[in-house]
């Protein structure tokens, strides 16, 4: 297993090189000079030159790229053109907010999605099943910003249950709406996946055998069927977790959540090149690492999976 993990970690190196290279490439070909934009409509040419020199923009692109990678592996992702803050600090400041929101959203998705899926599978084609599945369909289809705005309108403007948007001072109540908004799509996917996967398993021979042995239905579902049905669900949970961690750009924007997604959007709007590069690099790292963890976790969930 350790060998497998090491192998997977080694695979990450070309992935990181690819990600950074392509991000770098995008900013090379995107029209417009980021320094000029950061400095406004009529910039001071001397200052512009100075900043360009500091950023190494007067050097050939490949030297800039290798210099960037060299510093990045040492944890130095440069400094923001706009604020002068180190990019690493920007990331470290924002990441806890994204992490807590992601965890909360996934907890919501799992707590609601799993029971709904199991319930639907056991009561296939009942009105409850139909209701859950229609809700899941709506959940998957509804754009995040629409759901976010509707929730804000109901809970903030009309019912006054939630005080407003933002991070508050860390109070849980501020997390409620963004977590529900962000967790709704994964919740819908999880419930649908749980339902179909469970239905598939319920038709297999060993379940019939279990039932024939007179085991209670609840046990059949939870102990026998669910264990096997859970494997594809884990994949879904893992993948969703990874993409949510990468920053829920729209949700963070709507709820004014000071996380990675919100910082990425601001940096792009302000053409703050070092920050955008750093954030993309960080997002890629997180995405890849979470996927790795998910892959490794299969070993524990399903011993049949061979590690090759």
């Amino acid at each position: 297993m350790i060998q497998y993990a090491l192998k997977r970690i080694l695979y990450l190196i070309p992935v990181f090189i690819g990600v950074t290279f392509f991000t770098f490439l995008i900013f090379l070909v995107v029209p417009g000079d980021p320094v000029r934009l950061a400095l406004g409509q009529h910039p001071n040419p001397e200052l512009q030159q100075k900043i360009e020199h500091e950023l190494g923009m007067d050097l050939p692109w490949y030297i800039r790229y290798f210099r960037y990678i060299g510093k990045a592996v040492q944890g130095d992702l440069g400094t923001s053109i706009r604020t002068g803050e180190p990019v690493t600090k920007i990331i470290l400041d924002r990441f806890p907010a994204t992490l807590t929101l992601t965890v909360a959203a996934m907890v919501f998705a799992i707590i609601v999605g799993l029971p709904a899926g199991i319930f639907s599978a056991t009561k296939q084609y009942s009105w409850i099943d139909n209701t859950f599945m229609v809700m899941a369909l709506v959940g998957i289809s509804m754009p995040v910003f629409v759901l976010g705005l509707i929730l804000l309108l109901i809970f903030v403007s009309f019912l006054h249950i939630v005080p407003g948007t933002g991070y508050g001072d860390g109070q849980l109540i501020y997390m409620l709406l963004p977590a529900i908004t962000l967790g709704t799509i994964p919740m819908a996917i999880i419930s649908r996946m749980t339902r179909s996967s469970l239905l598939e398993v319920m038709g297999s021979d060993y379940i019939r055998t279990a039932r024939a042995k007179g085991i209670k239905e609840k046990s059949v579902i939870l102990k026998h069927a669910f264990k096997n049905a859970f494997i594809p669900v884990v994949t879904v949970i893992g993948n969703n977790f990874a993409s949510l961690m990468a920053g829920a750009i729209i949700t963070e924007r709507v709820f004014n959540w000071p996380g990675i997604g919100s910082a990425t959007i601001s940096a792009i709007e302000q053409r703050d090149l070092p920050v955008v590069m750093g954030l993309v690099f960080f997002i890629a790292v997180i995405f890849v690492i979470v996927n790795l963890i998910v892959d490794i976790s299969y070993i524990f969930i399903d011993p049949r999976i061979k590690l090759e």
């Binding site: 001071n44 200052l47 707590i111 709904a116 403007s157 933002g166 849980l172 409620l176 709820f255 004014n256």
Partner: protein, 565 residues
């Protein structure tokens, strides 16, 4: 099944409990918060910096303005009035300013001296500060030498005694005092900034893990010293920084050492709310007290809402939205063509139908809110017949009118597109000329305007300081054509002479007269097609009094009072 339903029920209960918890820990309803004396002014983006020397954007300016002061400031009518300097004298030739400082103290309690003024200004000019506003001291004697490292101090800034500082200019400048109102000219407390430079305070307060010193030239310590303003303010204004949570909020508290009227609110918070819709929603939910500006999309609704319409106030900005003609490209090399275009477009329709009355029809180049200025111009009338006649005359005179004329606008704003399409339709209908619309990404757009690549383009301009010089000289003087400001590549020696003479004129009334003449020439030449003078609109809760905003931003918030809702 019971068990499954109970899980769902449990979750619902948990949600409700969570909701209940939040309300109680939050300290109650928004009404109670308002009563506690917290003024909440939403900002659409986080301040990029709170170091006055590095402020270039309006958000940072609005926040720093509450904590810092310069030698002079603007009053409500945009006149220059005393601030940290209680008075000043100007030599007859206008090149020597003597500022007499008032007995003011920094928030720390340290007195403000002439040495602080010199140190603050030299700090801006020091390349290590990376200020983008060094140019505000361009006329100060010795400023360039100091920045270039050729001198140890700025020779033109002389400390006469503790409370008197002299500033010597290399040449007379009518806008020098305006520039002294900029954030970069705020006086800062050397003691605080240097404590971070020495890195002791920074080590304690930043969370950046210090690396083991492998690279001696490593910039980390410099970065920490550059970030002192994230943790403390170093000014004399009515407020001081309590907390700056990046991308969340800036919290200010009253400065008891302020020399003027002390704050009437307990806390001043600038919550960062990036999305227009959400900012509006938060205002309506009572979570913010001041909303500036009202998002364009909400303007009509707010105006027609019986309650919200009573909370609106208008700010006449020193800003213009115009269509530029590249005066060196066909067909706009001919004055009559430019005039014909001006007359062929019904701009009042743009004001009424596209802007829905948010802005005012532009009657010239300089907005009417310009203090002490009286314009001699009027808008070109909408007269399609006369326009057609002018175009025909121009063609007879040899003007080359291409079958298609490129009209560019920048991407990402539907208003620009709507205006472009409206003008396209009118020009086609009234002059028979096809305008080829090109929507271009902003960075490329600016570059191509600088290069003079578009025959027709749209742009806006917001004044840096309330003086006609900032419009006429910056945007239209032939020496500024191209990247320095003049995308129109307009050139008229008579205009240039008037604008340059005005720069030297010491009598303000005469100076304004010269600008009025120059503006008249530029309008007769139809160098642009001015569209609207822009207004912005603010929403202020009825229980907030004393809030005032003019074209240069809000006044200090020390006079703002929050009453019961």
């Amino acid at each position: 099944m019971k068990r499954f339903s109970s899980i769902v029920a449990l979750f619902v209960v948990a949600l409700v409990a969570l909701a209940g918890c939040g309300t109680s820990t939050d300290g109650g309803t928004p009404t109670e918060q308002t009563r506690s004396g917290t003024l909440r002014v939403a900002i659409g983006q986080d301040a990029p910096t709170l170091d006055p020397a590095r402020v270039t954007d309006t958000t940072s300016h609005e926040v720093t303005k509450q904590m810092y002061e310069g030698l002079v400031a603007y009053d409500k009518e945009l006149n220059i009035v005393a601030s940290l300097a209680s008075s000043w004298d100007i030599s007859p030739d206008g090149t020597l300013y003597t500022f007499h400082l008032r007995d003011a103290k920094f928030a720390t309690g340290d007195p403000v001296t002439a040495n602080d003024v010199k140190w603050s200004f030299e700090r801006v000019l020091n390349p290590a500060t990376k200020s983008e506003r060094t140019w505000i001291f361009d006329e100060v004697a010795g400023a360039f030498d100091y920045t270039a490292g050729k001198a140890q101090e700025v020779t033109g800034i002389v400390v006469k005694d503790d409370k008197t500082v002299e500033i010597k200019l290399t040449e007379y400048s009518p806008i020098f005092l305006h520039k002294m109102t900029y954030s970069a000219a705020y006086i800062v407390n050397r003691k605080i900034i240097e404590s971070y430079d020495n890195n002791e305070a920074a080590e304690e307060k930043t969370e950046i893990p210090a690396k083991e010193g492998k690279e001696p030239e490593k910039t980390e310590s410099q970065l920490k010293s550059g970030l002192w303003h994230s943790y403390e303010s170093a000014g004399t204004g009515p407020f001081k920084l309590q907390e700056w949570k990046k991308d969340q909020k800036v919290v200010l508290i009253p400065n008891d050492n302020y020399w003027g009227q002390k704050s009437m609110v307990e806390t001043l918070v600038f919550p960062v709310i990036k999305d227009d819709t959400i900012r509006m929603q938060e205002y309506q939910a009572g979570n913010i007290d001041v909303l500036y500006p009202i998002p364009d999309a909400d303007f009509e609704r707010v105006k027609n809402d019986p309650q919200l319409s009573t909370e609106i106030s208008q700010v006449k900005d020193l800003a213009i939205y115009y269509i530029g003609f590249q005066n060196k490209l066909e067909p706009f090399t001919n004055k009559k063509v430019r005039q014909a275009f001006n007359m062929a477009v019904n701009r009042q329709d743009i004001v009424d139908k596209i802007f829905k009355g948010r802005h005012t029809l532009a009657t010239g180049i300089i907005p009417p809110s310009m203090p002490n200025y009286k314009s001699l111009t009027d808008a070109y009338p909408y007269d399609p017949t006369k326009a057609k006649q002018l175009l025909e005359e121009a063609i007879k005179e040899g003007a080359k009118v291409p079958s298609k004329v490129v009209f560019a606008f920048n991407q990402g704003n539907v208003t620009h597109k709507n205006i472009a399409e409206f003008i396209q339709e009118q020009i086609k209908g009234n002059l028979g000329i096809d305008l080829q619309l090109e929507s271009v990404e902003w960075a490329t757009y600016l570059k191509r305007i600088d290069d003079g690549a578009f025959p027709m383009f749209r742009l806006g301009w917001v004044a840096d300081y309330p003086d006609p010089d900032n419009f006429l000289w910056v945007l239209l003087d032939s020496s500024n054509a191209g990247p320095k400001g003049g995308g129109a590549f307009y050139s008229n020696p008579n205009f240039d002479k008037l604008v340059r003479d005005a720069k030297k004129e010491k009598d303000n009334e005469k100076r304004m007269g010269l600008y009025a003449e120059a503006e008249k020439i530029a309008m007769e030449d139809a160098c642009w097609m001015p569209i609207v003078f822009q207004n912005s609109w603010t929403l202020v809760k009825p229980n907030v009094s004393g809030y005032f905003r003019n074209a240069m931003g809000p006044m200090m918030y020390n006079t703002v009072k929050i009453g019961p809702k």
